[in-house]
Protein backbone atom coordinates (compact mmCIF):
# COMPACT_ATOMS: atom_id res chain seq x y z
CA UNK A 1 0.00 0.00 0.00
CA UNK A 2 1.18 3.48 -0.76
CA UNK A 3 1.18 4.76 2.80
CA UNK A 4 3.05 1.76 4.22
CA UNK A 5 6.12 3.03 6.06
CA UNK A 6 7.37 -0.43 6.87
CA UNK A 7 6.82 -3.55 4.91
CA UNK A 8 8.59 -6.73 6.03
CA UNK A 9 8.04 -10.02 4.27
CA UNK A 10 9.48 -13.38 5.33
CA UNK A 11 12.37 -11.83 7.23
CA UNK A 12 14.86 -14.33 8.63
CA UNK A 13 18.00 -13.51 10.52
CA UNK A 14 20.62 -16.12 11.31
CA UNK A 15 23.65 -15.31 13.47
CA UNK A 16 26.54 -17.53 12.57
CA UNK A 17 29.01 -17.56 15.44
CA UNK A 18 31.16 -20.17 13.74
CA UNK A 19 30.27 -23.11 15.96
CA UNK A 20 26.56 -22.59 16.26
CA UNK A 21 23.99 -20.94 14.08
CA UNK A 22 21.31 -19.05 15.94
CA UNK A 23 18.14 -18.25 14.07
CA UNK A 24 16.95 -15.08 15.79
CA UNK A 25 14.08 -14.38 13.41
CA UNK A 26 12.27 -17.24 11.75
CA UNK A 27 10.16 -15.53 9.14
CA UNK A 28 8.60 -12.27 10.23
CA UNK A 29 6.08 -10.47 8.03
CA UNK A 30 4.16 -7.33 8.90
CA UNK A 31 3.46 -3.83 7.66
CA UNK A 32 3.21 -0.53 9.50
CA UNK A 33 1.20 2.31 8.00
CA UNK A 34 2.05 5.95 8.31
CA UNK A 35 0.77 7.43 11.57
CA UNK A 36 0.68 4.19 13.54
CA UNK A 37 1.95 3.85 17.10
CA UNK A 38 3.23 0.29 17.41
CA UNK A 39 4.60 -1.39 20.50
CA UNK A 40 6.67 -4.52 20.01
CA UNK A 41 6.70 -6.65 23.16
CA UNK A 42 8.00 -10.04 24.12
CA UNK A 43 10.31 -11.82 26.54
CA UNK A 44 14.06 -11.48 26.17
CA UNK A 45 15.39 -13.80 23.47
CA UNK A 46 12.20 -13.47 21.48
CA UNK A 47 13.99 -11.60 18.67
CA UNK A 48 12.85 -8.05 19.56
CA UNK A 49 16.35 -6.57 19.44
CA UNK A 50 17.20 -8.27 16.18
CA UNK A 51 13.98 -6.94 14.73
CA UNK A 52 14.83 -3.47 15.98
CA UNK A 53 18.30 -3.63 14.32
CA UNK A 54 16.75 -4.71 11.06
CA UNK A 55 13.99 -2.09 11.22
CA UNK A 56 16.60 0.58 11.91
CA UNK A 57 18.83 -0.61 9.04
CA UNK A 58 21.66 -1.21 11.49
CA UNK A 59 21.80 -4.77 10.21
CA UNK A 60 20.60 -6.62 7.14
CA UNK A 61 18.34 -9.70 7.10
CA UNK A 62 19.62 -13.14 6.05
CA UNK A 63 16.60 -13.49 3.78
CA UNK A 64 13.29 -11.83 3.12
CA UNK A 65 12.43 -8.38 1.84
CA UNK A 66 12.26 -5.13 3.77
CA UNK A 67 10.90 -1.93 2.29
CA UNK A 68 11.29 1.26 4.33
CA UNK A 69 9.36 4.31 3.13
CA UNK A 70 9.01 2.72 -0.29
CA UNK A 71 12.75 2.03 -0.57
CA UNK A 72 14.02 -1.56 -0.74
CA UNK A 73 16.80 -1.83 1.80
CA UNK A 74 18.29 -5.20 0.87
CA UNK A 75 21.65 -5.11 -0.87
CA UNK A 76 22.46 -1.47 -0.10
CA UNK A 77 26.09 -0.56 0.64
CA UNK A 78 27.16 0.48 4.13
CA UNK A 79 27.23 4.15 3.18
CA UNK A 80 23.84 3.93 1.44
CA UNK A 81 22.41 2.29 4.58
CA UNK A 82 23.91 5.14 6.62
CA UNK A 83 22.04 7.62 4.42
CA UNK A 84 18.78 5.65 4.82
CA UNK A 85 19.18 5.70 8.63
CA UNK A 86 19.93 9.38 8.50
CA UNK A 87 16.84 10.35 6.50
CA UNK A 88 14.26 7.77 7.54
CA UNK A 89 14.96 6.53 11.06
CA UNK A 90 15.01 8.46 14.33
CA UNK A 91 16.57 6.34 17.06
CA UNK A 92 15.84 6.56 20.78
CA UNK A 93 17.87 4.15 22.93
CA UNK A 94 17.44 2.82 26.44
CA UNK A 95 20.84 4.19 27.45
CA UNK A 96 20.32 7.48 25.59
CA UNK A 97 23.59 7.17 23.59
CA UNK A 98 24.29 10.87 23.54
CA UNK A 99 27.82 11.94 22.61
CA UNK A 100 29.38 12.94 25.94
CA UNK A 101 31.88 15.64 24.86
CA UNK A 102 29.49 17.90 23.03
CA UNK A 103 26.54 20.03 24.14
CA UNK A 104 22.86 19.09 23.93
CA UNK A 105 22.45 21.39 20.96
CA UNK A 106 25.43 19.85 19.11
CA UNK A 107 24.02 16.39 19.82
CA UNK A 108 20.75 17.38 18.17
CA UNK A 109 22.66 18.92 15.27
CA UNK A 110 24.62 15.71 14.60
CA UNK A 111 22.11 13.97 12.26
CA UNK A 112 21.65 17.25 10.37
CA UNK A 113 25.43 17.52 10.00
CA UNK A 114 25.40 14.09 8.35
CA UNK A 115 22.30 15.06 6.33
CA UNK A 116 24.03 18.07 4.81
CA UNK A 117 21.87 20.72 6.49
CA UNK A 118 23.63 24.13 6.46
CA UNK A 119 25.13 25.16 9.84
CA UNK A 120 22.77 28.08 10.50
CA UNK A 121 19.67 26.03 9.80
CA UNK A 122 21.09 23.25 11.97
CA UNK A 123 21.52 25.53 14.93
CA UNK A 124 18.10 27.13 14.71
CA UNK A 125 16.32 23.82 14.22
CA UNK A 126 18.22 22.18 17.08
CA UNK A 127 17.25 25.01 19.39
CA UNK A 128 13.59 24.75 18.29
CA UNK A 129 13.51 21.00 18.85
CA UNK A 130 15.10 21.31 22.29
CA UNK A 131 12.61 23.93 23.36
CA UNK A 132 9.83 21.68 22.06
CA UNK A 133 10.97 18.94 24.47
CA UNK A 134 11.23 21.55 27.24
CA UNK A 135 14.98 22.05 27.34
CA UNK A 136 15.32 25.56 25.90
CA UNK A 137 17.45 26.52 28.91
CA UNK A 138 19.81 23.54 28.55
CA UNK A 139 21.18 24.07 25.03
CA UNK A 140 24.82 24.39 26.09
CA UNK A 141 24.75 21.67 28.72
CA UNK A 142 26.84 18.59 28.21
CA UNK A 143 24.98 15.28 28.64
CA UNK A 144 26.80 14.65 31.94
CA UNK A 145 25.21 17.81 33.30
CA UNK A 146 21.69 16.56 32.56
CA UNK A 147 19.38 14.15 34.38
CA UNK A 148 18.34 10.87 32.79
CA UNK A 149 14.96 12.25 31.78
CA UNK A 150 16.56 15.32 30.27
CA UNK A 151 19.07 13.20 28.38
CA UNK A 152 16.29 11.10 26.92
CA UNK A 153 14.45 14.24 25.87
CA UNK A 154 17.61 15.43 24.08
CA UNK A 155 17.70 12.01 22.40
CA UNK A 156 14.10 12.43 21.25
CA UNK A 157 14.88 15.89 19.88
CA UNK A 158 17.88 14.39 18.06
CA UNK A 159 15.74 11.56 16.66
CA UNK A 160 13.33 14.10 15.19
CA UNK A 161 16.02 16.37 13.72
CA UNK A 162 15.87 14.98 10.18
CA UNK A 163 12.04 14.59 10.28
CA UNK A 164 12.37 10.83 9.79
CA UNK A 165 9.73 8.46 8.45
CA UNK A 166 9.53 6.80 11.83
CA UNK A 167 10.72 7.08 15.39
CA UNK A 168 12.30 3.81 16.51
CA UNK A 169 12.62 3.55 20.28
CA UNK A 170 14.27 0.70 22.15
CA UNK A 171 13.13 0.46 25.79
CA UNK A 172 13.06 4.29 25.94
CA UNK A 173 11.84 4.37 29.55
CA UNK A 174 13.93 1.45 30.81
CA UNK A 175 16.52 3.64 32.55
CA UNK A 176 14.12 6.31 33.76
CA UNK A 177 12.07 6.87 36.90
CA UNK A 178 8.31 6.77 36.42
CA UNK A 179 7.89 10.57 36.20
CA UNK A 180 10.56 11.00 33.52
CA UNK A 181 9.29 7.87 31.78
CA UNK A 182 5.84 9.40 31.75
CA UNK A 183 7.24 12.59 30.20
CA UNK A 184 8.88 10.60 27.40
CA UNK A 185 5.69 8.59 26.78
CA UNK A 186 3.85 11.89 26.66
CA UNK A 187 6.26 13.14 23.96
CA UNK A 188 5.66 9.99 21.93
CA UNK A 189 1.89 10.32 22.21
CA UNK A 190 2.12 13.96 21.21
CA UNK A 191 4.16 13.01 18.17
CA UNK A 192 1.68 10.28 17.25
CA UNK A 193 -1.22 12.66 17.59
CA UNK A 194 0.62 15.03 15.21
CA UNK A 195 0.62 12.27 12.60
CA UNK A 196 4.03 10.71 13.25
CA UNK A 197 4.87 7.02 13.06
CA UNK A 198 6.28 5.56 16.30
CA UNK A 199 7.68 2.08 16.94
CA UNK A 200 8.55 1.21 20.51
CA UNK A 201 10.20 -1.95 21.70
CA UNK A 202 9.38 -2.32 25.37
CA UNK A 203 8.78 -4.38 28.46
CA UNK A 204 6.77 -1.57 29.92
CA UNK A 205 3.11 -2.58 29.94
CA UNK A 206 2.08 1.02 30.56
CA UNK A 207 3.87 2.23 27.48
CA UNK A 208 2.55 -0.67 25.42
CA UNK A 209 -1.00 0.21 26.48
CA UNK A 210 -0.61 3.69 25.08
CA UNK A 211 0.26 2.28 21.64
CA UNK A 212 -2.47 1.84 19.07
CA UNK A 213 -1.15 -1.55 18.09
CA UNK A 214 0.80 -4.21 19.97
CA UNK A 215 2.93 -6.84 18.27
CA UNK A 216 3.93 -9.69 20.55
CA UNK A 217 7.09 -11.59 19.67
CA UNK A 218 7.95 -15.09 20.76
CA UNK A 219 10.86 -17.32 19.69
CA UNK A 220 11.65 -15.36 16.54
CA UNK A 221 8.07 -15.18 15.34
CA UNK A 222 5.14 -12.82 15.72
CA UNK A 223 2.87 -14.45 18.26
CA UNK A 224 0.10 -11.92 18.31
CA UNK A 225 -0.61 -8.72 16.40
CA UNK A 226 -3.46 -6.60 17.78
CA UNK A 227 -4.02 -5.09 14.33
CA UNK A 228 -4.87 -8.45 12.75
CA UNK A 229 -7.11 -9.32 15.73
CA UNK A 230 -9.05 -6.13 15.23
CA UNK A 231 -9.43 -6.79 11.53
Amino acid sequence: MADDIISMDGIRKVYDTGKVKVEALKGVSFTVRKGEFVAIVGPSGSGKSTLMNLLGCLDTPTSGTYTLGGEAVAGLSRDALADVRNRRVGFVFQNFNLLPQISAQENVEMPMLFGGVPPKVRRTRAAELLSKVGLSDRLDHKPTELSGGQMQRVAVARALAMTPDMLLADEPTGNLDSTSGGDIMGLFTELWNAGGTVLVITHDAGLARRAGRVIEMHDGRILKDSASEAA
Binding site: S49, L58, D59, A82, L99, M110, F114, R158
Partner: protein
Protein backbone atom coordinates in the same frame (compact mmCIF):
# COMPACT_ATOMS: atom_id res chain seq x y z
CA UNK B 1 30.86 17.33 -1.37
CA UNK B 2 29.73 17.27 2.20
CA UNK B 3 32.72 15.27 3.44
CA UNK B 4 35.33 17.97 4.23
CA UNK B 5 32.89 20.05 6.29
CA UNK B 6 31.57 17.03 8.18
CA UNK B 7 35.06 15.67 8.85
CA UNK B 8 36.29 19.04 10.05
CA UNK B 9 33.34 19.51 12.41
CA UNK B 10 33.76 16.03 13.91
CA UNK B 11 37.53 16.53 14.19
CA UNK B 12 37.14 19.81 16.06
CA UNK B 13 34.58 18.22 18.38
CA UNK B 14 36.84 15.28 19.21
CA UNK B 15 39.88 17.50 19.71
CA UNK B 16 38.15 19.00 22.74
CA UNK B 17 38.89 15.71 24.53
CA UNK B 18 41.40 15.61 27.33
CA UNK B 19 44.82 15.49 25.78
CA UNK B 20 46.94 14.17 28.65
CA UNK B 21 48.13 11.08 26.89
CA UNK B 22 48.32 12.97 23.62
CA UNK B 23 51.16 14.88 25.29
CA UNK B 24 53.06 11.64 25.87
CA UNK B 25 52.50 10.58 22.29
CA UNK B 26 53.68 13.91 20.99
CA UNK B 27 56.74 13.65 23.24
CA UNK B 28 57.56 10.24 21.75
CA UNK B 29 57.38 11.64 18.24
CA UNK B 30 59.41 14.68 19.26
CA UNK B 31 62.06 12.42 20.77
CA UNK B 32 62.17 10.29 17.62
CA UNK B 33 62.50 13.42 15.50
CA UNK B 34 65.32 14.74 17.66
CA UNK B 35 67.07 11.36 17.43
CA UNK B 36 66.85 11.09 13.66
CA UNK B 37 67.82 14.71 13.10
CA UNK B 38 70.81 14.59 15.45
CA UNK B 39 72.04 11.30 14.00
CA UNK B 40 71.68 12.54 10.45
CA UNK B 41 73.26 15.92 11.14
CA UNK B 42 76.06 14.17 13.00
CA UNK B 43 76.57 12.03 9.88
CA UNK B 44 76.50 15.12 7.68
CA UNK B 45 79.05 16.90 9.89
CA UNK B 46 81.26 13.81 9.85
CA UNK B 47 81.01 13.66 6.07
CA UNK B 48 81.94 17.31 5.65
CA UNK B 49 84.79 17.04 8.13
CA UNK B 50 86.14 13.88 6.50
CA UNK B 51 85.89 15.49 3.09
CA UNK B 52 87.88 18.41 4.46
CA UNK B 53 90.43 16.14 6.17
CA UNK B 54 90.75 13.99 3.08
CA UNK B 55 91.35 17.05 0.94
CA UNK B 56 93.95 18.34 3.40
CA UNK B 57 96.61 16.00 1.94
CA UNK B 58 95.91 17.56 -1.44
CA UNK B 59 93.37 17.06 -4.18
CA UNK B 60 93.53 14.79 -7.24
CA UNK B 61 96.88 13.28 -6.32
CA UNK B 62 98.61 10.02 -7.12
CA UNK B 63 101.79 8.90 -5.34
CA UNK B 64 104.36 6.60 -6.98
CA UNK B 65 107.23 4.67 -5.40
CA UNK B 66 109.85 3.51 -7.92
CA UNK B 67 110.00 -0.28 -7.59
CA UNK B 68 111.02 -3.10 -9.95
CA UNK B 69 109.58 -4.53 -13.15
CA UNK B 70 107.33 -7.59 -13.02
CA UNK B 71 106.95 -8.19 -16.77
CA UNK B 72 109.58 -8.98 -19.40
CA UNK B 73 110.10 -6.11 -21.83
CA UNK B 74 112.03 -6.12 -25.11
CA UNK B 75 114.20 -9.08 -24.16
CA UNK B 76 114.85 -7.84 -20.61
CA UNK B 77 113.94 -10.04 -17.66
CA UNK B 78 111.46 -8.97 -14.99
CA UNK B 79 112.81 -7.98 -11.56
CA UNK B 80 114.85 -5.04 -12.85
CA UNK B 81 114.83 -2.08 -10.41
CA UNK B 82 113.54 1.26 -11.69
CA UNK B 83 115.27 4.36 -10.37
CA UNK B 84 113.94 7.89 -10.81
CA UNK B 85 115.90 11.08 -10.17
CA UNK B 86 114.97 14.71 -9.69
CA UNK B 87 115.61 15.23 -13.42
CA UNK B 88 112.61 13.05 -14.22
CA UNK B 89 110.29 15.68 -12.71
CA UNK B 90 111.17 18.19 -15.44
CA UNK B 91 111.16 15.34 -17.99
CA UNK B 92 107.54 14.48 -17.09
CA UNK B 93 106.20 18.02 -16.72
CA UNK B 94 107.60 19.01 -20.14
CA UNK B 95 105.78 16.09 -21.77
CA UNK B 96 102.59 16.43 -19.70
CA UNK B 97 102.04 20.21 -19.43
CA UNK B 98 98.34 19.64 -18.62
CA UNK B 99 99.26 18.46 -15.08
CA UNK B 100 98.99 21.27 -12.51
CA UNK B 101 101.87 19.77 -10.51
CA UNK B 102 104.60 17.16 -10.88
CA UNK B 103 106.41 16.70 -7.56
CA UNK B 104 109.59 14.89 -6.69
CA UNK B 105 110.41 14.03 -3.09
CA UNK B 106 113.76 13.00 -1.66
CA UNK B 107 113.75 12.00 2.00
CA UNK B 108 116.25 11.84 4.80
CA UNK B 109 114.85 9.84 7.72
CA UNK B 110 115.79 10.44 11.36
CA UNK B 111 117.80 13.54 10.69
CA UNK B 112 119.14 15.56 13.63
CA UNK B 113 117.57 19.01 13.88
CA UNK B 114 119.21 21.13 16.53
CA UNK B 115 118.14 24.43 18.01
CA UNK B 116 120.29 25.73 20.84
CA UNK B 117 120.78 22.80 23.18
CA UNK B 118 117.77 20.85 21.95
CA UNK B 119 118.02 18.16 19.27
CA UNK B 120 115.07 16.43 17.65
CA UNK B 121 115.35 13.55 15.20
CA UNK B 122 112.93 13.94 12.32
CA UNK B 123 112.17 13.50 8.67
CA UNK B 124 113.60 16.06 6.26
CA UNK B 125 112.09 16.27 2.81
CA UNK B 126 113.64 17.86 -0.27
CA UNK B 127 111.15 18.88 -2.91
CA UNK B 128 110.28 21.39 -5.62
CA UNK B 129 108.22 24.56 -5.21
CA UNK B 130 104.89 23.25 -6.61
CA UNK B 131 104.72 20.83 -3.64
CA UNK B 132 103.51 23.64 -1.34
CA UNK B 133 100.25 24.37 -3.17
CA UNK B 134 99.51 20.81 -4.29
CA UNK B 135 100.16 19.31 -0.83
CA UNK B 136 98.53 22.19 1.03
CA UNK B 137 101.52 23.37 3.01
CA UNK B 138 100.15 26.80 3.83
CA UNK B 139 102.37 28.95 6.07
CA UNK B 140 101.08 30.47 9.31
CA UNK B 141 101.07 34.25 9.52
CA UNK B 142 104.60 35.68 9.50
CA UNK B 143 106.11 32.83 7.50
CA UNK B 144 106.38 31.82 3.86
CA UNK B 145 106.77 28.77 1.61
CA UNK B 146 109.75 27.96 -0.67
CA UNK B 147 110.36 30.08 -3.77
CA UNK B 148 112.02 29.48 -7.14
CA UNK B 149 114.97 31.55 -5.91
CA UNK B 150 115.39 29.29 -2.84
CA UNK B 151 115.55 26.37 -5.24
CA UNK B 152 117.87 27.83 -7.89
CA UNK B 153 120.26 29.37 -5.35
CA UNK B 154 120.25 26.23 -3.13
CA UNK B 155 119.41 28.40 -0.12
CA UNK B 156 119.58 26.89 3.31
CA UNK B 157 115.98 27.58 4.23
CA UNK B 158 113.63 25.21 6.01
CA UNK B 159 109.83 25.01 6.35
CA UNK B 160 108.56 23.15 9.44
CA UNK B 161 105.49 21.05 10.11
CA UNK B 162 103.56 22.59 13.01
CA UNK B 163 104.06 19.62 15.36
CA UNK B 164 107.78 19.51 14.67
CA UNK B 165 108.06 23.27 15.19
CA UNK B 166 106.41 22.85 18.57
CA UNK B 167 108.79 19.98 19.47
CA UNK B 168 111.88 22.04 18.64
CA UNK B 169 110.89 25.57 19.58
CA UNK B 170 108.13 25.08 22.17
CA UNK B 171 106.30 28.38 22.50
CA UNK B 172 108.97 30.41 20.69
CA UNK B 173 108.22 31.75 17.20
CA UNK B 174 110.54 29.71 14.93
CA UNK B 175 110.38 31.99 11.89
CA UNK B 176 113.75 33.67 11.24
CA UNK B 177 115.54 31.46 13.79
CA UNK B 178 118.61 29.45 12.84
CA UNK B 179 118.37 25.66 13.01
CA UNK B 180 121.08 23.04 12.48
CA UNK B 181 120.29 20.21 10.08
CA UNK B 182 123.04 17.63 10.33
CA UNK B 183 125.13 20.45 11.78
CA UNK B 184 124.54 22.76 8.80
CA UNK B 185 122.77 26.00 9.67
CA UNK B 186 119.36 26.65 8.11
CA UNK B 187 116.94 29.56 8.50
CA UNK B 188 113.33 28.75 9.36
CA UNK B 189 111.15 30.54 6.79
CA UNK B 190 107.70 29.27 7.79
CA UNK B 191 105.59 26.89 9.85
CA UNK B 192 102.72 24.93 8.33
CA UNK B 193 99.20 26.02 9.29
CA UNK B 194 97.56 23.19 11.26
CA UNK B 195 95.45 20.70 9.36
CA UNK B 196 93.79 17.39 10.27
CA UNK B 197 95.17 15.02 7.69
CA UNK B 198 93.57 11.71 6.65
CA UNK B 199 95.68 10.44 3.77
CA UNK B 200 99.28 9.90 4.84
CA UNK B 201 102.35 8.51 3.06
CA UNK B 202 105.81 8.61 4.65
CA UNK B 203 104.36 10.26 7.73
CA UNK B 204 102.07 13.09 8.79
CA UNK B 205 102.90 16.46 7.25
CA UNK B 206 102.90 18.10 10.66
CA UNK B 207 105.95 16.03 11.71
CA UNK B 208 108.33 16.72 8.84
CA UNK B 209 110.54 19.57 7.66
CA UNK B 210 110.85 20.67 4.05
CA UNK B 211 113.89 22.14 2.23
CA UNK B 212 114.56 22.82 -1.49
CA UNK B 213 115.66 19.66 -3.28
CA UNK B 214 118.68 21.47 -4.71
CA UNK B 215 119.83 22.19 -1.14
CA UNK B 216 119.03 18.59 -0.20
CA UNK B 217 121.29 17.28 -2.97
CA UNK B 218 124.13 19.58 -1.89
CA UNK B 219 123.75 18.53 1.75
CA UNK B 220 123.06 14.80 1.46
CA UNK B 221 124.55 14.08 -1.98
CA UNK B 222 121.42 12.27 -3.17
CA UNK B 223 118.94 13.04 -5.93
CA UNK B 224 117.19 9.68 -6.23
CA UNK B 225 113.44 10.17 -5.78
CA UNK B 226 111.70 8.40 -2.91
CA UNK B 227 108.37 9.26 -4.43
CA UNK B 228 107.00 10.94 -7.52
CA UNK B 229 103.63 12.68 -7.07
CA UNK B 230 101.41 13.97 -9.83
CA UNK B 231 98.29 16.10 -9.62
CA UNK B 232 95.54 16.09 -12.23
CA UNK B 233 93.04 18.87 -12.85
CA UNK B 234 89.99 16.66 -12.32
CA UNK B 235 89.53 13.33 -10.51
CA UNK B 236 88.45 11.56 -13.70
CA UNK B 237 91.64 12.70 -15.49
CA UNK B 238 93.87 10.78 -13.06
CA UNK B 239 93.56 7.31 -14.62
CA UNK B 240 94.49 8.47 -18.18
CA UNK B 241 97.27 10.66 -16.75
CA UNK B 242 98.78 7.64 -14.97
CA UNK B 243 98.64 5.59 -18.20
CA UNK B 244 100.37 8.39 -20.11
CA UNK B 245 103.01 8.78 -17.37
CA UNK B 246 103.89 5.07 -17.56
CA UNK B 247 104.19 5.32 -21.34
CA UNK B 248 106.62 8.25 -21.01
CA UNK B 249 108.72 6.73 -18.21
CA UNK B 250 108.40 3.22 -19.66
CA UNK B 251 109.94 4.50 -22.90
CA UNK B 252 112.71 6.28 -21.01
CA UNK B 253 113.61 3.46 -18.63
CA UNK B 254 112.54 0.53 -20.78
CA UNK B 255 109.65 -1.14 -19.03
CA UNK B 256 106.19 -2.30 -20.09
CA UNK B 257 103.76 0.65 -19.66
CA UNK B 258 101.15 -1.84 -18.36
CA UNK B 259 103.57 -3.12 -15.69
CA UNK B 260 101.99 -2.05 -12.42
CA UNK B 261 104.98 -3.00 -10.27
CA UNK B 262 107.52 -0.73 -12.02
CA UNK B 263 106.02 2.22 -10.17
CA UNK B 264 103.94 1.17 -7.12
CA UNK B 265 101.07 3.61 -7.34
CA UNK B 266 98.66 4.95 -4.72
CA UNK B 267 95.87 6.64 -6.62
CA UNK B 268 94.41 8.84 -3.86
CA UNK B 269 91.50 9.76 -6.14
CA UNK B 270 90.39 6.13 -6.12
CA UNK B 271 90.77 5.56 -2.37
CA UNK B 272 89.00 8.81 -1.57
CA UNK B 273 86.05 7.60 -3.61
CA UNK B 274 85.99 4.48 -1.47
CA UNK B 275 86.18 6.71 1.59
CA UNK B 276 83.19 8.67 0.33
CA UNK B 277 81.24 5.45 -0.18
CA UNK B 278 82.04 4.44 3.38
CA UNK B 279 80.71 7.78 4.62
CA UNK B 280 77.51 7.29 2.65
CA UNK B 281 77.25 3.87 4.31
CA UNK B 282 77.70 5.42 7.76
CA UNK B 283 75.09 8.07 6.94
CA UNK B 284 72.60 5.43 5.84
CA UNK B 285 73.24 3.45 9.01
CA UNK B 286 72.71 6.50 11.22
CA UNK B 287 69.60 7.42 9.25
CA UNK B 288 68.26 3.91 9.71
CA UNK B 289 68.73 4.04 13.48
CA UNK B 290 67.02 7.43 13.54
CA UNK B 291 64.16 6.20 11.37
CA UNK B 292 63.64 3.20 13.64
CA UNK B 293 63.52 5.45 16.70
CA UNK B 294 60.96 7.58 14.93
CA UNK B 295 59.06 4.46 13.94
CA UNK B 296 58.77 3.49 17.60
CA UNK B 297 57.22 6.91 18.18
CA UNK B 298 54.83 6.17 15.32
CA UNK B 299 53.89 2.85 16.90
CA UNK B 300 53.12 4.85 20.05
CA UNK B 301 50.78 7.11 18.11
CA UNK B 302 49.07 4.14 16.49
CA UNK B 303 48.73 2.52 19.90
CA UNK B 304 47.07 5.59 21.39
CA UNK B 305 44.80 5.83 18.39
CA UNK B 306 43.76 2.20 18.76
CA UNK B 307 42.99 2.88 22.43
CA UNK B 308 40.96 5.94 21.46
CA UNK B 309 39.02 3.94 18.88
CA UNK B 310 38.30 1.27 21.47
CA UNK B 311 37.25 3.84 24.02
CA UNK B 312 34.98 5.62 21.56
CA UNK B 313 33.46 2.46 20.11
CA UNK B 314 30.02 3.35 21.37
CA UNK B 315 30.26 6.92 20.11
CA UNK B 316 31.32 5.65 16.73
CA UNK B 317 28.33 3.28 16.76
CA UNK B 318 26.02 6.19 17.66
CA UNK B 319 27.39 8.33 14.84
CA UNK B 320 26.90 5.45 12.44
CA UNK B 321 23.31 5.00 13.61
CA UNK B 322 22.71 8.69 13.04
CA UNK B 323 23.88 8.29 9.44
CA UNK B 324 27.66 8.86 9.39
CA UNK B 325 29.38 7.41 6.34
CA UNK B 326 32.58 5.37 6.76
CA UNK B 327 34.82 8.24 5.61
CA UNK B 328 33.35 10.58 8.19
CA UNK B 329 34.35 8.11 10.87
CA UNK B 330 37.86 7.40 9.56
CA UNK B 331 39.11 10.83 8.54
CA UNK B 332 38.96 12.50 11.96
CA UNK B 333 41.16 9.68 13.28
CA UNK B 334 43.64 10.05 10.43
CA UNK B 335 43.73 13.80 11.07
CA UNK B 336 44.27 13.21 14.78
CA UNK B 337 47.22 10.90 14.08
CA UNK B 338 48.65 13.43 11.66
CA UNK B 339 48.19 16.24 14.15
CA UNK B 340 50.09 14.37 16.89
CA UNK B 341 52.88 13.64 14.43
CA UNK B 342 52.95 17.20 13.15
CA UNK B 343 53.11 18.79 16.59
CA UNK B 344 55.70 16.26 17.79
CA UNK B 345 57.70 16.68 14.60
CA UNK B 346 57.77 20.46 14.84
CA UNK B 347 58.76 20.28 18.51
CA UNK B 348 61.50 17.76 17.73
CA UNK B 349 62.83 19.83 14.83
CA UNK B 350 62.96 22.91 17.03
CA UNK B 351 64.85 21.07 19.77
CA UNK B 352 67.27 19.47 17.30
CA UNK B 353 67.92 22.82 15.61
CA UNK B 354 68.68 24.39 19.00
CA UNK B 355 71.09 21.56 19.91
CA UNK B 356 72.88 21.69 16.55
CA UNK B 357 73.13 25.47 16.72
CA UNK B 358 74.45 25.20 20.29
CA UNK B 359 77.12 22.69 19.26
CA UNK B 360 78.07 25.03 16.43
CA UNK B 361 79.08 27.65 18.98
CA UNK B 362 81.84 25.46 20.49
CA UNK B 363 85.18 26.43 18.89
CA UNK B 364 86.53 23.29 17.23
CA UNK B 365 90.28 23.93 17.16
CA UNK B 366 90.10 23.75 20.94
CA UNK B 367 88.59 20.29 20.71
CA UNK B 368 90.34 17.34 19.08
CA UNK B 369 87.18 15.22 18.97
CA UNK B 370 85.32 17.90 17.04
CA UNK B 371 88.33 18.34 14.74
CA UNK B 372 88.07 14.70 13.75
CA UNK B 373 84.29 14.10 13.88
CA UNK B 374 83.21 17.48 12.62
CA UNK B 375 80.24 19.38 14.00
CA UNK B 376 76.66 18.22 13.40
CA UNK B 377 75.17 20.01 10.43
CA UNK B 378 71.49 20.21 9.47
CA UNK B 379 71.00 20.25 5.73
CA UNK B 380 67.77 20.90 3.77
CA UNK B 381 67.93 17.30 2.51
CA UNK B 382 67.94 16.01 6.09
CA UNK B 383 64.99 18.23 7.04
CA UNK B 384 63.02 17.19 3.94
CA UNK B 385 63.77 13.50 4.50
CA UNK B 386 62.72 13.66 8.13
CA UNK B 387 59.54 15.55 7.27
CA UNK B 388 58.73 12.87 4.70
CA UNK B 389 59.24 10.04 7.16
CA UNK B 390 57.17 11.90 9.78
CA UNK B 391 54.32 12.42 7.34
CA UNK B 392 54.28 8.77 6.32
CA UNK B 393 54.36 7.60 9.93
CA UNK B 394 51.59 10.01 10.92
CA UNK B 395 49.39 8.87 8.07
CA UNK B 396 49.90 5.17 8.81
CA UNK B 397 49.52 5.65 12.57
CA UNK B 398 46.11 7.21 11.97
CA UNK B 399 45.01 5.06 9.06
CA UNK B 400 45.10 1.61 10.62
CA UNK B 401 43.19 2.52 13.80
CA UNK B 402 40.71 4.48 11.67
CA UNK B 403 40.11 1.41 9.54
CA UNK B 404 39.25 -0.53 12.68
CA UNK B 405 36.86 2.26 13.69
CA UNK B 406 35.07 2.07 10.35
CA UNK B 407 34.65 -1.69 10.75
CA UNK B 408 32.66 -1.28 13.97
CA UNK B 409 29.21 -2.85 13.85
CA UNK B 410 26.78 -0.24 15.15
CA UNK B 411 24.10 -2.82 16.00
CA UNK B 412 26.47 -4.58 18.39
CA UNK B 413 27.63 -1.46 20.23
CA UNK B 414 24.42 0.45 20.82
CA UNK B 415 22.25 -1.74 22.97
CA UNK B 416 24.44 -3.11 25.68
CA UNK B 417 26.70 -1.48 28.18
Amino acid sequence: MRTPAVVLTLFVQSSRLAKKRATLTIAAIAWGTVAILLLLSFGEGLKRRMDLNRRSTGENLAVMWPNETSKPWKGMNPGRPIRLTTDDVAFVSERMPELPAVIGEVVSWRTALTYGRKTVNGRVLGTNVVYGEARKHYPMAGGRWLTEADESEKRRVIFLGDEMAKDIFGIEDPVGKALLVNNSPFTVIGVMRHKTQMGVYGGPDQNHAVIPWTTFKALFGRDRLNVLVIQSRKPEEMAPALRRLNEILGAKYGYDPTDERALSTWNIVKTSRQGQNMIVGIQMFLGLIGALTLLIGGVGVANIMYAVVKERTREIGVKMALGARARWITWPFVLEGLLYTLVGGVAGMTIATLIVTGLGLIPDDANRVLAFLGRPTLSPAIAAGTAGILGAIGLLAGYFPARRAAAIDPAATLRYE
